[in-house]
């Protein structure tokens, strides 16, 4: 276990005074794809934030509240994932008038996400699903090895969700993704973590699990 990418040993996680995990033991290796399951409030978002804090520079971040800039276009919201790769002047120029190379690059990514005809529409004029695909687009455009996602495809239909999840996983070495869709977790991920009231109650290879095993996580 020496080359673990993320590691917690008896860690206390929470926000301010509120403790979510009293003592968490967990390690995640480079190259693993991990699905994070559990009812709302079980600590998924807290765990993701803690993972990000360990390796900020390696992580592409796709948070739950999407946190897009609603008045800017799909293009700009995706491009924002790559702000750190470009110089400030280039970024300022792109805000006013995107160059051909960036249009082509972001445009190709948007095409994969089915957003081609919305590329220069602002996010506040999109449907929930379109906005969510834009948020995923930003994470992909960040071009970092680790994907940390919080329900990145929850607003998409089953078919599209599966295709985009597979695409996103293929684009990253390592991924930890929180979700509610148990079938998707079993179909796409190597390892499944189950959380319940701030405790890790399930940690197993996806191949060894059935949907019924996962149902237990959601029983009161």
């Amino acid at each position: 276990m020496s080359d673990a990418l993320f590691r917690f040993h008896g860690a206390r996680l929470g926000h301010g005074d509120a403790t979510v995990f009293a003592a968490l033991d967990l390690s995640i290796q480079r190259g693993e794809t991990v699905a994070l399951l559990g009812a709302s409030g079980s600590g998924k978002s807290t765990l993701l934030a803690a993972l990000r804090a360990q390796h900020e520079a390696l992580c592409a971040w796709c948070p739950q509240e999407q946190a897009l800039v609603p008045m800017l276009s799909v293009f700009h919201n995706i491009y924002m994932g790559g702000l750190h790769r470009h110089g400030t002047w280039h970024n300022l120029r792109t805000l006013l008038r995107p160059g051909a190379a960036d249009r082509a690059e972001v445009g190709a990514l948007a095409a994969r996400l089915g957003l081609t005809d919305k590329l220069f529409t602002s996010v506040d004029r999109l449907s929930g699903g379109q906005a969510q695909r834009t948020a995923l687009g930003r994470a992909l455009y960040t071009q970092r090895p680790v994907l940390l996602g919080d329900e990145p495809v929850s607003n998409l239909d089953e078919h599209q969700g599966l295709a985009l999840m597979r695409h996103a996983l293929a684009a990253h070495d390592t991924a930890v993704v929180a979700m509610h869709d148990r079938a998707l977790a079993l179909a796409c991920f190597q390892r499944v973590l189950g959380l319940r009231h701030g405790e890790l109650v399930l940690d197993a290879p996806a191949a060894s699990l059935t949907l019924a095993d996962l149902d237990a996580l959601y029983r009161p």
């Binding site: 946190a67 800039v69 702000l83 970024n91 300022l92 529409t121 602002s122 960040t142």
Partner: protein, 500 residues
């Protein structure tokens, strides 16, 4: 690829682009000369004065005189706000009537100093002039603000009452309580403005702090001037400490006893002023309609036209510089940028700039730079830019950025500016009307905006011209107000204006 942007930001960008263009044209037309040969030397003397302020002594301002000026400043401000708020509240009850809205808009379109110049002709340099010069425009402002508060208040409490014809009871039980807290806070803010206005009325001769301030600076006694300015700052910045709800009746009574709002003139003076002095000269002398036409054309060509043009040029240039300054200044006090030290310094800078009346800033810059439009543009932009920067920065406290958001200039351009744009534009467009109003009045200092011609006509006792020129400022203000409101509605900007 779809190339036509359908973004919300694009609409704001287009409007900003037009305002930018108008501002640039105005800058190209404006007279920006620095006419003083060695502004550095004068600035040095001013700086020395500000570092060694002095309130009493040397140049003949005794403690008694200073005390009287201070008491007058407070008394005019308190009475002005009290009468203005009372009248404004009554008008607000009839806010749904078009006539009331028009009347309120007209009285507030005339600046306190112009009201002062007019009232002085009837009531002399008396407390009545000082009080009414504040109360009249403030009544219009209060009517609008209270009226809009009542309009926007939650209608549910009224709807849930049993249907009865007790309109007055309904009002006091189900409508007034909803706006009471906001109305009180706004009135306190207005008192701060009234203190500035009251001081500035000294520039046209009323015995307030501004009278001595102007004398001191004009005669080069900068230590004395700085002391008086610091006193005004202290008065405004400590308002929160001494303005207590329970003490307000005491203050008001003291204000009424110290400076009873009585004038020097009598009824006959007023009648003569209205029926003779304000009537166009050709009509008063029975020279017929053709002479009136010539008179009107002469007035337009020589005074109203140039005055309007200069006011517009100076105002639009100031609006552009205000916008740029506000965009530069707001990060200074926003928790999203900088560190504790830069925020502390930024706060201080913004407080000083927005506490100093723009009229005084212009007066001060005129002394340093010499007469041209430049001091006026700078003064308006510094004061208004600080106000908008402060309010925009405060609004940015409510923004929640995601954990991986960019930093520095990238954060400013991509995360913060787009989200702040509607607030910023609403504030800027709302302030536009106030900038135009202040631009006109800067003419009293010698910049050739409408106020210059108004001041000259008063000095020549040609009040018929004064009236026409003041009506021209009213028309300009109403036009700008209407245009700004349409633009705000078109861009679907929120009503942020009441903040300033």
């Amino acid at each position: 690829m779809n190339e036509r942007p359908a973004t919300t930001a694009a609409g704001w960008r287009r409007a900003s682009g037009w305002l930018l263009l108008a501002g640039l044209v105005a800058f190209a037309c404006a007279d920006l000369a620095v006419t003083r040969t060695a502004p550095g030397a004068e600035l040095l003397r001013v700086a020395q004065g500000f570092l060694a302020p002095r309130l009493l002594g040397e140049h003949g301002l005794g403690a008694g005189e200073l005390g009287r000026a201070l008491a007058n400043t407070l008394a005019f401000a308190f009475q002005g706000v009290a009468f203005g708020a009372a009248a404004g509240f009554l008008l607000a009850l009839f806010w749904h009537r078009r006539a009331v809205r028009a009347a309120a808009a007209s009285v507030r379109a005339v600046h306190e100093l112009f009201w002062g110049l007019l009232l002085m002709q009837v009531a002399g340099l008396s407390p009545l002039t000082g009080v009414l010069a504040i109360a009249l425009p403030y009544a219009g402002i209060f009517a609008k603000v209270f009226g809009e508060m009542l309009e926007e208040a939650d209608p549910a409490p009224v709807a849930s009452l049993p249907r009865a014809r007790q309109r007055l009871s309904t009002f006091f039980y189900a409508r007034l309580p909803l706006i009471a807290a906001d109305a009180r806070a706004y009135t306190a803010y207005r008192l701060e403005c009234a203190l500035r206005a009251s001081a500035i009325l000294g520039f046209i001769g009323l015995p307030t702090l501004g009278f001595h301030l102007e004398t001191a600076f004009r005669e080069g006694h900068y230590s004395q001037g700085a002391g008086l300015l610091y006193l005004l700052f202290a008065l405004i910045l400590t308002q929160r400490l001494w303005l207590r709800a329970r003490l307000v009746p005491v203050y008001l009574l003291a204000a009424l006893l110290w400076a009873p709002p009585l004038g020097q003139g009598d009824w006959a003076t007023l009648v003569r002023f209205v029926t003779q002095d304000l009537v166009p000269a050709p009509l008063a002398r029975d020279q017929g309609w053709a002479a009136l036409g010539d008179w009107g054309w002469m007035l337009w060509r020589e005074q109203v036209g140039p005055g309007l043009w200069n006011t517009l040029v100076l105002g639009m240039a100031a609006l552009l510089l205000t916008a740029l300054l506000a965009l530069l200044l707001f990060p200074l006090r926003s928790p999203l940028f900088g560190n504790r030290l830069t925020r502390w310094l930024g706060h201080g800078l913004l407080v000083v700039l927005r506490t100093t009346p723009e009229f005084f800033l212009a007066f001060f810059l005129l002394i340093i730079l010499g007469p041209s439009m430049l001091p006026g543009i700078l003064a308006l932009a510094l004061h208004t830019g600080a106000i908008i920067g402060h309010l925009t920065g405060r609004f940015s406290e409510g923004l929640r950025l995601r954990a991986d958001s960019a930093r520095g200039i990238n954060r400013y351009a991509y995360e913060v500016l787009p989200r702040l744009s509607p607030t910023f534009l609403a504030l800027l467009l709302y302030r536009w009307e106030i900038i135009m109003r202040e631009t006109a009045v800067l003419g009293i200092l010698g910049i050739h905006t409408l106020g210059f011609y108004i001041d000259s006509s008063v000095a020549e006792f040609r009040f018929d011209r004064t009236l026409v020129l003041i009506l021209a400022t009213v028309c300009l203000n109403l036009a700008v107000d209407a245009f700004s409101r349409r633009l705000r509605a078109r861009l679907r900007l929120a009503r942020e204006g009441r903040l300033c």
